[in-house]
């Protein structure tokens, strides 16, 4: 019997056990026929590998995200990995990032051959620029901030440090499609920005997919080589390189959502989050992060920190609300991070958030009535 259980499906499939789900994929694609007809065209054309829909998506996505170029790749993880590789990062280099993130951020750094150096977060769950500067050494080759839950980092401060030390900034924008910082769209922040189209993301395809944005001609050209075996023609291989392509049929799904749905999805999430903020702000056991008015955060997750987190989660779940924790163990305390020799207490803010944060369903299919039900349950719990 295998020791590694396949735990993933539970996250995607609506079981019917819960009334208010984190997951909404069943509701989302009510227009299957329309998508199938477009995919059918791709299949009949035989246009599978970096097909014309990928080109079109790249153009449309670059405009929607405020960047000069967008390059479709195999996944958000690959987007991060390839971004590090295109900057020449590898063995012996250090990359500064946050300990409060998803595994892929760190996986990309380590599999690129570099060492992740953690800088603690602020109360807004994002990396603290002051901590970044303290971590810079002569081995540092990049800063990798994560716009956690779709909330852009303090990019002004980060860019300033990057400029001072001449470091590139790779933004993990996997949660942050359509987010904005000081009026700038998320794809235009940093040297490169990495987005994910994973099924649970705000703009989601039917499998793995990702995209990288940049304003640099040189980086864009090199990324196109890196994602497709280094080929400059069918028979000419300029450099040995990866195979990490966004499937054309997934580009069809992404284009469909980008054109018809992403604005509605984004605005609904913001509206639902604002509603929760308003109704939950007076509960003294809950601490909602400050909302910066210069930032348009897109609430891939709706989170706050609270007292008796585990009990609250259990209470909500037992009452049919799919409350989740993203994520209970910060990266520096993962078994995989043993080689970095970190201890509990090294990053107190990240640890505090991991121990006390909870995520409520905030997607576009949640109704106000459902939100009220969640709010009532939370009130009941603390009274």
């Amino acid at each position: 019997m295998s020791e590694v259980k396949n735990f993933l499906p539970e996250q995607y499939l609506q079981t019917g056990k819960l009334k208010i789900n984190h997951n909404y994929l069943n509701d989302q694609f009510s227009d299957l026929d329309e998508i199938w007809l477009k995919i059918r065209e791709v299949v009949l054309r035989g246009d599978f590998t970096l097909g014309s829909d990928v080109d079109k998506l790249e153009e449309e996505f670059s405009i929607a995200s405020g960047a000069k170029y967008a390059i479709g790749v195999g996944s958000g993880t690959d987007a991060l990995f390839l971004s590090l590789k295109v900057l020449g990062i590898g063995e012996g280099n250090e990359v500064i990032t946050t300990p409060y993130t998803f595994y892929a951020t760190i996986g990309a750094i380590v599999t690129a051959g570099a060492i992740p150096v953690f800088a603690d977060v602020k109360d807004d769950f994002n990396i603290d620029p002051a901590e970044i500067e303290r971590k810079i050494t002569n081995k540092t080759k990049a800063i990798l901030p994560v716009h956690w839950s779709g909330n852009p980092c303090d990019m002004e401060a980060i860019e300033k440090i990057a400029l001072k030390y001449d470091l590139p900034v790779v933004c993990d924008a996997c949660h942050a499609i359509k987010a904005e910082y000081n009026g700038k769209k998320s794809g235009s922040l940093g040297t490169l920005s990495c987005f994910s189209f994973h099924p649970l993301k705000n703009l989601n395809v039917w499998g793995d997919g990702g995209i990288i944005t940049t304003n640099s001609d040189e980086i864009a050209d090199k990324l196109r080589l890196l994602r497709n075996h280094g080929l400059v023609g069918r028979n000419d291989c300029k450099i040995f390189a990866y195979n990490s392509r966004l499937d054309t049929i997934q580009a069809v799904v992404a284009r469909h959502l980008l054109k018809n749905k992403i604005d509605f999805i984004t605005e609904s999430r913001i509206k639902n989050a604002n509603y929760f903020d308003e109704k939950l702000k007076n509960i003294k056991q809950i601490k909602i992060p400050n909302r910066d008015t210069n930032i348009k955060q897109v609430y891939h997750l709706y989170q706050f920190t609270c007292e008796r987190r585990d009990e609250l989660q259990e209470y909500l779940v037992s009452n049919g609300v799919d409350a989740k924790v993203h994520y209970p163990i910060p990266m520096h305390l993962q078994p995989a991070a043993n080689f970095l020799n970190h201890n509990k207490g090294d990053f107190p803010k990240a640890e505090y958030i991991s121990e006390n944060t909870i995520s409520l369903p905030v997607h576009e299919f949640i109704t106000n009535e459902q939100q009220d039900e969640v709010i009532n349950l939370i009130n009941n719990f603390y009274n």
């Binding site: 995919i39 499998g207 995989a336």
Partner: protein, 364 residues
């Protein structure tokens, strides 16, 4: 008559109903990553390949790369392979940090076991034969050498799903094998995908983690890993097609036989009695390659070359230090090979048309 090199639309038209059902089932379920559908496909493929374990991954390159990475191959190591393959074969070795060391091929386009020993030194960690064009490499000889020098063997089976060597399917003849499900392969999906096959339980467990961020559950990461998963919807398509694979491979074999028995003036591939080639490509050799290709093109027959520039002569390989003349067979074949159209949906009429054009070119 127009005969394209590939015609995926024909296959699609034959089984569209089933594929639409796959699409709708997966679309409605919301289960887009891993899940039962993928597991079923993995089990069915394991049965088909007669191996213990199969894992779906993002593509054929990742399959080979992840195997070598999991076997601990990396910086400072060398892996022996063939220089006449798709560049991804050598790339997967480079990706681990190791150095690809090329060994020339035999008339059958596969690595020549007699030359492998000359390339072995103390840095050598593995041999990666390529079952090119669907034809099994000489696995007994290769495995004997590997045993003698204590090396891993990894089968690049990207082009050979279903092929047999001495009665056994390729993929189960070594430590592990990588397959590709790229749209143009014998078992092709509608995007990138790949498979790892192995009989090694420990390797399997390791690879299962590596393909999915090194996670052992939602919240715990045991080893920093990759994201290399076969999309569930693609697994559903592949599972539908797997049912037809033997039938399709048989038809390719049949077409190959018709070509072989009727072509004149060109060198045709030969089947040895111990092997079952699945003819991912039907590669003929002729001195008049470019003229013949042009003539066929003018007559509506689309052909290809697999591959016109050997890997050791690619720009990407400059740092490896090879030069023209290092691998005589590979280099000669790169100038004489033509791949003819071969896919299950090709009609006999079309096959005979291609034959007629080649024969008329040769008797001109």
């Amino acid at each position: 008559m127009q005969i394209p090199f590939v015609n995926l639309a024909r296959q699609f038209n034959n089984i569209e109903k089933e594929l639409v059902q796959n699409f709708i089932d997966i679309g409605r379920s919301g289960g887009y990553i891993m899940g039962e559908v993928l597991e079923t496909f993995e089990q069915n493929t394991a049965t088909f390949l007669e191996v213990k374990h199969v894992l779906g991954v993002a593509d054929g390159s990742d399959a080979l790369f992840l195997i070598m990475h999991a076997l601990g191959i990396g910086e400072g190591d060398e892996v022996i392979t063939a220089p006449n393959s798709f560049i991804a074969s050598a790339w997967t070795i480079v990706a681990t940090g190791a150095k690809p060391v090329f060994v020339d091929v035999d008339q059958d386009l596969n690595i020549n076991p007699k030359l492998i020993e000359l390339a072995i030194n103390k840095k050598t960690k593995a041999i990666m034969p390529v079952h090119l064009a669907g034809r099994p490499a000489k696995m007994d000889e290769i495995n004997a050498i590997a045993k003698k020098y204590n090396l891993f063997v990894i089968e690049d089976s990207a082009q050979a799903i279903g092929a047999r060597y001495k009665g056994k399917r390729v993929g189960g003849l070594s430590n592990a094998a990588g397959f590709s499900l790229h749209p143009l392969k014998n078992l092709g999906i509608y995007g990138d995908g790949g498979l790892i096959a192995t009989n090694d339980d420990i390797l399997y467990e390791k690879l299962k983690k590596l393909r999915n961020h090194g996670l052992i559950n939602r919240d715990e990461c045991e080893v920093w890993g990759f994201n290399s998963r076969l999309d569930t919807i693609q697994a559903a398509f592949a599972n539908t097609k797997l049912k037809y694979l033997d039938k399709w491979n048989t038809r390719c074999h049949e077409i190959a036989t018709i070509y072989r028995n009727n072509l004149i003036g060109v060198e045709v591939p030969v089947d040895q009695k111990w092997e079952y080639c699945v003819y991912h490509n039907f590669v003929i050799k002729t001195k008049h390659r470019d003229l013949m290709m042009q003539y066929l093109k003018d007559n509506g027959v689309d052909t290809r070359i697999h591959y016109p520039i050997p890997i050791h002569l690619q720009n990407a390989a400059i740092n490896l230090g090879y030069k023209n003349g290092d691998f005589v067979n590979t280099e000669t074949f790169s100038k004489t090979m033509i791949s003819l159209p071969i896919y299950p949906e090709l009609t006999n009429e079309e096959v005979y048309y291609v034959i007629e054009k080649i024969n008329s070119f040769n008797t001109k």
